[in-house]
């Protein structure tokens, strides 16, 4: 059986193709404004890698904040449901998931079957998201990768406000003016976001094991801060940014399509467009 999962988020799209339950292709890239087109483009790229055509795929399930816009998908499942299935596949011992992506940070409690038991989301705020990290890296005039790397060398903890990306940026500028070392500022940024993410996670409870996924999980500096904040080490699966797409593909293979949600969204868009 060949299925696909597409995670269309606010900033990036990730595609995973499963053939007989094995990952045969992956593709990812920025969505830009034309999100639906981006989904199609990277889906086709993944198909090409696998040597497949669209007609060879039996089911496509979309997820992510813009997932309902993937019009060629057979179904849609919410982000947390996809995360749960993806993590359950990669790290079956995990009972708590922390997913920090570009526009949202969330904590999910799951059971042994990979079903969502509870969840908490940071609401309408960039603090505790990948966007916050990007903003701070810009303020430090360095790529995120470098910020991640140098923060690991810091041994100094500097308190910083992570309640707001705008104030956070001002604070970084202020720390630069105080001639604080960049590596210490980088750690302060990660510590601040980790504190924010940990507080969201505590809402659902810190049940072991804890898996960290999403694009920010690739930032080793942030993961180190989070481990310190939680007082335990989180599991970071390979390609943590693809876990949502993998979970959607797993859902497709399980026949979980969430048809009515997709129908509802399409109907709403049709009305909005005056059709």
């Amino acid at each position: 059986m060949t299925v696909a999962g597409i995670d269309l988020g606010g900033r990036n799209v990730h595609v995973v193709i499963l053939k007989d339950d094995k990952v045969v292709a992956k593709a990812a890239g920025a969505t830009g404004i034309q999100k639906a087109e981006a989904a199609g483009k990277f889906y086709d790229e993944a198909l090409q890698q696998a040597g497949l055509k669209r007609g060879d795929v039996e089911a496509v399930v979309a997820t992510g904040s813009s997932g309902p816009r993937v019009t060629f998908a057979n179904g849609y499942i919410p982000d947390a449901a996809a995360d749960a299935r993806g993590v359950n596949r990669l790290a079956p011992s995990a009972r708590t998931i922390i997913d920090v992506g570009g526009e949202e940070g969330r904590a999910i409690k799951i059971n042994a079957e990979g079903r969502v038991q509870d969840f908490a989301v940071n609401e309408k705020c960039a603090a505790g998201t990948g966007t916050f990290v990007d903003t701070m890296a810009r303020a430090l005039e360095m790529p995120v990768e470098e910020m991640a790397k140098i923060s690991l060398q810091s041994t100094t903890s500097i308190p910083m406000n992570a309640q707001c990306a705008v104030f956070g940026e001002s604070e970084v500028v202020s720390l630069i003016h105080q001639k604080i070392k960049k590596l210490d500022i980088a750690r302060a940024v990660h510590d601040a976001i980790a504190g924010r993410v940990a507080s969201v996670t505590r809402i659902v409870g810190l049940e072991k094991d804890i898996a960290m996924i999403g694009g920010v999980a690739m930032n080793a500096g942030f993961v180190a801060s989070l481990n310190r904040e939680l007082g335990m080490d989180v599991i970071v699966p390979d390609d943590p940014d693809y876990v949502g797409a993998l979970g959607a593909a797993v859902a497709a293979s399980q026949g979980v399509l969430g048809e009515e949600v997709k129908a509802k969204v399409v109907e709403k868009e049709t009305i909005e467009e005056g059709k």
Partner: protein, 438 residues
């Protein structure tokens, strides 16, 4: 084939008519030589409504909520309050709607803003303490203003001292009303109005108590439209008659005949706080999965009066007839009015601490047989949003799956509809594991 019979309420049309007439009467009051007053939905309306002659009130919160249900109007009003008056956008959303309406000189039910002759208000929260004082200033006039304090403690702390404290202030209020309107309080009318207040408050609670039945005869979306009458004018003859002689008997009949609010009821959900008024369609979505939202401390005891009985159950507060009381004097009327309002309104108790809220909601989910809870983290009302996360933990300890979503009862700019759709979808299908049944 549906599991239960279902049908709309026969008294639905009457509820709509009463609400419409209330707003129309306020608008036209001066044309008929009647007095107009502004106040809160918890303002003991029996007192100003007992002035001689025709009197019509406008209560702040339901007016703000009406605007909240109209997205286009709401944004204009709030932007007027924030942009033209400098009002902070984290203040009560009803208050911002109300002030915006005055600033733009638009009455949400048509025409220009109808200025009040006086204000009769009480301090139930920080917003109410200044709401109408500032409203009077925005309106550009010196509107006579009387405000009294009701912060005397939760229901289990109420004794003679607390009742006396509020009653004494109502005597002052009567002096104020008579001085500024030139009309007298009619004691016979006051006794009738207090009687009506008891009927509205106790019979709404009795109707809500019937929602413990399986299947539930009422769903919360419908209940929102029914409790509102009590927030407008519980002392009104027609409104009291509605609760006692139309709604309560009809809900009882639905229970006796197993007429369900949701034909395929399979899951009962507990709610909290006011909903985002422009987003009520979510309840219809839940119905497709056989979910009925059948209990909520806010919906049931904002106007409904309750007692905790010796078994520890929440039961409707007794009517005057059930207490064997006949009101004869002004003193009787004021004392019983105050006692009912400050002892029976359990919604007030959480203002005094999370312990009260956790205790009450824990009783309710058992009595109303709820399977799960959906909590609206309401940015628009500091009062009802207090202790919501503590409440979530308390309900989870009882074994209930609980979801929260952040929003605002009357400011859609602070509510992400698409994201909330996704969260609710996740909760219904994944956490509750429900499938569509309709």
């Amino acid at each position: 084939m549906a599991k239960y019979k279902t049908k709309g309420l026969d008294c639905w049309g009457k509820a709509k008519e009463l609400r419409q007439r209330y707003y129309q009467d306020y608008k036209e009051a001066h044309d008929r030589g009647a007095l107009r007053w502004e106040g809160g939905a918890w303002s003991f309306d029996a007192v100003p409504q007992s002035l001689e002659g025709e009197v019509h009130g406008l209560t702040e919160e339901p007016y703000g909520a009406s605007i909240g249900a109209n997205p286009a109007m709401q944004v204009r009003y709030q932007e007027a309050a924030e942009g033209k008056w400098g009002c902070a956008n984290d203040l009560c959303a009803y208050l911002r709607n109300y002030w915006g309406s005055i600033i733009l000189n638009e009455y949400a039910f048509g025409g220009e803003w109808p200025h009040a002759d006086f204000i009769f208000q009480n301090h139930i929260c920080c917003s109410h303490a200044k709401w109408l004082q500032v409203a009077g200033e925005i309106a550009g006039g010196e509107i006579p203003y009387f405000c009294f304090d009701v912060g005397v403690g939760a229901y289990d702390k109420i004794g003679e001292r607390q009742i006396n404290y509020v009653v004494e202030q109502l005597y002052d209020g009567i002096e104020f009303l008579e001085k500024f309107t030139g009309r007298k309080i009619d004691d016979e009318k006051l006794i009738k109005k207090v009687h009506n207040t008891y009927d509205s408050s106790c019979y709404w609670a009795k109707a809500c108590e019937l929602n413990q039945a399986v299947p539930a005869p009422l769903d919360e979306k419908t209940m929102f439209s029914l409790y509102v009458l009590g927030t407008l004018e519980k002392s009104n003859d027609d409104i009291a008659n509605f609760y006692k002689n139309l709604l309560y008997p009809e809900v009882k009949d639905r229970v006796d005949n197993q007429i369900a609010a949701v034909a395929n009821e399979q899951c009962r959900v507990f709610g909290d706080s006011q909903p985002p008024w422009g987003f009520l369609r979510v309840y219809r979505y839940l119905e497709q999965y056989g979910i009925v939202s059948n209990a909520n401390l806010y919906t049931m005891s904002l106007i409904g009066w309750w007692n905790i009985n010796e078994k520890g159950d929440m039961v409707p507060y007794p009517t005057l007839e059930e207490q064997g009381v006949t009101l004869k004097t002004r003193e009787d009327a004021l004392r019983f009015l105050v006692e009912g309002e400050i002892k029976g309104k359990l919604e007030w108790a959480p203002f005094y601490g999370a312990t009260y809220k956790n205790d009450l909601v824990s009783r309710m989910v058992k009595q109303w047989k709820c399977d799960a809870a959906i909590i609206h983290l309401n940015r628009g009302c500091e009062g009802t949003a207090q202790h919501q996360m503590e409440m979530k933990i308390a309900l989870q300890k009882l074994g209930l799956p609980v979801m929260t979503f952040e929003g605002n009862m009357a400011d859609q700019r602070q509510f992400d509809e698409a994201r909330t759709d996704r969260l609710i979808d996740l909760f219904v299908k994944e956490t509750l594991g429900l499938k569509k049944v309709a």
